[in-house]
């Protein structure tokens, strides 16, 4: 049966987002460009995310594979969808109406909602075809919104660069997928998985896996496929950067996990090599690349590369424990990034947004709350206990050590010391230096709420970690892994 109750119920968040997006298109077409119309569209989008998030709670708790196996849900994937929706909600809410970088257009809301829909489909993909469909639905709107600020040369450059490199990586992914299909004869994940477990994996499959991993590594901006990240982060309008930093990576890393843990679990020693190399390269490039940056958004780009390196260290372990570690890592990452970007979005001087590191000098004397928040996020991203980032690192590296990847863990913690240097530099600017030119006062309520929420989560994470760990270890077991270690 194509349409039964379960097919509808299991994909409820996707349905809600798709319908809301279509509704938004109509509204954008027929409403004027007045401020109240824009506000109404944003409000509708927010309600859409909230409804989709609420529908998470009515999803079936057992694993299901529907639409002829194209679409799959289980508790692990549902959790990741919830994280993506929270991130998307934040990214949408943070954009205040007075932003004039092109993102005030109603199309913006439509595009990010479609991108979010793509992410949810990516997470649930259970077939090479649906994988590619979800991935492209996610990518295309993002290419457009990166170039949304049409009068800015940098924004156009960012969009073009992102598009060209993104298309290249999609091509690599497709090529890899076609090899996998060619050598196994299947596109469904379950079939490929059982084929590999019954037959000796030929080198064609392994080449295909490497190509697929490279394509996905581009999406999570893991080194050496990170080239686009600093330029796109810098050039895109800040609300778009915030979105890039928060949600697509969660979806892409879930997909990566799906592919490695589930589809190719029987050739884990082959893909583990690739993931370890990606992890080490990302941690090192992320840590050292950020040192020389003068632009806050570029620095955040390198920081996100490093964070993906840490998350991949958990993935590289190839165990359920690693999956749980990645879950915890991404959870903290979403809140830390959302909090940090809520501050970057509020940074203005004479009404114009600023994003240089030097603009932060002496922030603590003019904006004590912002600088306190940013300080917390920076210490947390550096992995200093008792903040959230420490527990995230603890669980990914714990999984790595448990799988015998002790050198990886040692490289990881040492690069985190290098990383601490540039996080501390921000704190130094805010707290140890005198104010040069003060930033504007006044902050949109939305950003302050997101900031406060993120501070609370980051500081009080030590109270959440107990239940979260237990829960994440429980639901990572639902990850169907054949022939697990």
């Amino acid at each position: 049966m194509l349409f039964t109750q379960i097919t509808f119920q299991a994909a409820l968040p996707e349905y809600i987002l798709a319908l809301t997006a279509l509704g938004l298109v109509l509204m954008a077409a027929f409403s004027g460009s007045t401020n109240s119309a824009k506000r109404f569209i944003k409000l509708t989008a927010l309600v859409g995310y909230l409804l989709a998030f609420a529908s998470i709670f009515v999803l079936p708790s057992e694993s299901h594979s529907i639409y002829f196996g194209l679409f799959r849900i289980n508790n692990f994937l549902i959790y990741m969808k919830a994280i993506v929706l929270i991130g998307a909600f934040f990214a949408c809410w943070m954009v205040t109406s007075d932003w004039a970088d092109g993102v005030e257009k109603p199309e913006y809301q439509v595009l990010i909602m479609l991108a979010t829909l793509g992410m949810l489909l990516m997470i649930s993909a259970n077939d090479l075809i649906s994988l590619y469909m979800g991935l492209e639905l996610q990518s295309l709107p993002l290419y457009v919104i990166a170039a949304m600020h049409t009068r800015s040369l940098k924004s156009s450059e960012a969009g073009l660069k992102y598009f060209l490199l993104g298309a290249l990586s999609s091509g690599m992914l497709l090529y890899g997928a076609s090899l996998v299909y060619g050598y196994t004869g299947f596109t469904r994940f379950d079939d490929i998985s059982s084929f590999i477990s019954q037959n000796v994996a030929s080198s064609g499959i392994i080449v295909g896996v490497v190509f697929m991993l490279s394509g996905l590594a581009f999406k999570i901006s893991a080194a050496p496929f990170h080239m686009w990240t600093p330029d796109v982060y810098e050039g895109a309008p800040t609300p778009v950067t915030a979105l890039f930093a928060i949600t697509p990576k969660v979806a892409a890393i879930t997909l990566l996990m799906n592919v490695t843990y589930f589809v190719f679990s029987d050739i884990r020693f082959e893909w583990m090599q690739v993931i370890i190399a990606l992890s080490v390269a990302s941690m090192i490039i992320g840590a050292f690349g950020a040192i020389m940056q003068k632009d806050l958004k570029r620095m955040m780009a390198y920081s996100s590369i490093a964070h993906m390196g840490y998350a991949l260290a958990g993935l590289a372990s190839g165990t359920h424990q690693g999956a749980a570690g990645v879950m915890i890592y991404l959870t903290t990452y979403v809140f830390m990034s959302a909090g940090a970007f809520s501050i970057i979005l509020m940074m203005r001087r004479d009404g114009l947004p600023v994003q240089k590191l030097s603009d932060l000098s002496g922030l603590s004397s003019t904006h004590p709350y912002w600088s306190f928040g940013l300080m917390i996020f920076m210490f947390s991203m550096a992995g200093i206990p008792p903040l959230a980032g420490f527990f995230a690192k603890w669980y990914v590296f714990l999984a790595a050590v448990n799988s015998g990847l002790i050198p990886l863990a040692i490289i990881g913690v040492l690069t985190s010391v290098v990383g601490a240097f540039y996080y501390l530099r921000i704190i130094k600017l805010m707290y140890f230096e005198d104010v040069d030119q003060p930033l504007d006062e006044g902050a949109p309520t939305e950003n302050v709420i997101i900031l406060s929420l993120s501070i609370i989560v980051t500081v009080l994470f030590l109270f959440i970690i107990g239940p979260l760990r237990e829960w994440s270890h429980g639901i990572s077991q639902t990850f169907p892994v054949s022939g697990m270690l």
């Binding site: 420490f390 714990l398 863990a409 913690v413 140890f432």
Partner: protein, 501 residues
């Protein structure tokens, strides 16, 4: 009746409660700043009073942990909220709670900007220090051990001297680089034993080849904290740039975290490796004692001189710990407590004259004894205690360490004793140049005598230094049972190693 109260948790988190109150006392005017100071001093003094209950309720005859509290934290994973003290950690907790109010009092007028934030940072620092000594779970220990970095980084960086940024970064990154290696080791031990509970891990027999690597990881962390030569270079910078109160706590408590770590983790958990590495540590310690003593002789900055002398004194501590016999370890513990009191007092002595003349150059002073006789007396007692004069607490620690070292090897005792002579040289020379001579400069003639606040800080420190020098029994009685058990554990490993050979 006392045992029904969670005294350790109260002592640990009382300062945080104070932070909440300070946050409520908002406002930027003079009176609210004064309120912040008063709140901070009252909260930290009250914490000290509560922590005295630990001493009063402490049963010396019990070897194990007392005042234990254990709750589920990260359930089902062997990581719990577990606090408790034994004879090793209890004196350190008292030292921390004792020095914090004194340090806050010491910064009463010398901190002029962002007073509220300073007090918050100091109270957070106190929670971290006490929590670290009270933790009986490695995860919690690490949380507090690293958490200390945050307030201390801010204290050095915001309220420090001209090169404060450099000093703060160096302090933070050196310490972090050491600690993260320990973190990997903690993970490894956790995976082996399935728990991070310290009492369980202390009894957990690790294979010698594991011990070897784990010891190195823990050593990296504690050696930076102690600090041992050659990773001591962050200390002089941090001390010179930190505000007086920061230096007092840094020298008084933070350096002890390394020595405490060796005693709490390295000896009981890796006894075989401790035996194996002892000669290596002796070498580093002897180099530290002799080399830094010479470096101290060459200093022109008072704070830097005392900072280097701290490195030398901590060299005694590491020698004492790794003699692995009862006298040595007891001496090291005693030396740490005594050095905590003495160095805090010495840094405050520097702070006193710095507040008056705004320089720490030794050459700028001379003849202070004529102008500030009380000061000269206090400074002399502390200087002599630092040198190890009989009748002061410094003597007891050093003589015990030397006896322990002599039992281990006579040449080790010889080199360590050389350090004593050199120590006397630079301290006496410092004292002569600052305090004696004729007061010629007009700025020195105008220096006001000690006020009540300053006497109020120096007097309790002096009393304890002399008390422990004349009558060390209260401290030794607390230490002896635990140290006896510890040295027995390690000597068993020593015998086992010897019999294998």
């Amino acid at each position: 009746m006392l045992s029904s109260w969670p005294i350790l948790s109260i002592v640990t988190f009382l300062p945080l409660l104070g932070v909440l109150f300070i946050l409520l006392a908002s406002g930027k005017n003079k009176s609210s700043e004064h309120n912040c100071k008063m709140l901070a001093i009252w909260v930290s003094s009250f914490t000290f009073v509560v922590s005295l209950l630990l001493y009063l309720g402490f049963d010396n005859s019990i070897v194990g942990y007392q005042f234990e509290e254990q709750f589920e934290w990260i359930s089902g994973s062997g990581i719990s909220y577990h606090l408790g003290v034994d004879g090793i950690s209890m004196p350190f907790i008292l030292l921390s709670t004792f020095l914090t109010p004194l340090s806050i009092l010491a910064s009463w007028y010398s901190i002029k900007q962002r007073i509220r934030e300073f007090m918050i940072a100091f109270l957070v620092l106190e929670t971290m220090m006490v929590g670290m000594f009270a933790s009986l779970d490695m995860m919690m220990f690490y949380l507090f051990f690293e958490g200390v970095l945050i307030p201390m980084f801010l204290i050095i960086g915001i309220w420090g001297g001209p090169r404060r940024v450099y000093a703060a970064f160096k302090f933070f990154l050196f310490t972090l680089a050491g600690s993260v290696l320990m973190l990997v080791c903690i993970m490894f031990m956790y995976l082996k034993a399935g728990t991070t509970d310290i009492p369980i891990l202390s009894k957990f027999n690790l294979l010698p080849e594991y011990q070897f690597w784990l010891f190195i990881g823990f050593f990296a962390s504690f050696a930076v904290k102690v600090p041992m030569w050659p990773v001591h270079t962050w200390l002089p910078d941090a001390h010179v740039e930190a505000p007086t109160a920061g230096s007092m706590i840094l020298a008084g408590v933070l350096l002890k975290m390394g020595g405490y770590g060796f005693i709490r983790f390295s000896l009981p958990m890796f006894p075989d490796a401790s035996v194996y590495f002892a000669p290596f540590i002796f070498t580093l310690s002897v180099i530290a004692i002799i080399y830094t003593s010479f470096v101290a002789l060459a200093q022109t900055d008072m704070k830097k001189l005392i900072a280097y002398s701290s490195v030398a004194h901590m060299g005694f501590v590491t020698i004492g710990i790794f003699t692995l016999n009862q006298q040595g370890i007891t001496g090291a513990m005693f030396q740490m407590i005594s050095h905590g009191l003495i160095s805090a007092a010495l840094f405050f002595c520097v702070g006193i004259v710095y507040d008056r003349l705004h320089t720490r150059e030794i050459d700028a002073y001379g003849g202070v004894a004529d102008i500030m006789p009380n000061y000269a007396v206090f400074f002399m007692i502390m200087m002599l205690a630092s040198v190890g004069l009989p009748g002061t607490s410094g003597f007891v620690g050093e003589i015990l360490v030397l006896v322990g070292a002599y039992k281990s090897s006579s040449s080790l005792a010889f080199f360590a004793a050389t350090g004593l002579v050199l120590g006397a040289t630079y301290m006496l020379w410092l004292y002569r140049r600052v305090v004696f001579g004729r007061a010629e400069k007009s700025e020195i003639m105008r220096m006001p005598v000690l006020n009540n606040r300053e006497i109020g800080i120096l007097l309790p420190l002096t009393i304890f230094v002399i008390w422990f020098g004349i009558f060390p029994a209260p401290l030794l009685d607390v230490l002896n049972p635990v140290v006896a058990l510890l040295s027995e554990t390690v000597s068993n490993a020593q015998i086992a190693t010897a019999s294998l050979e």
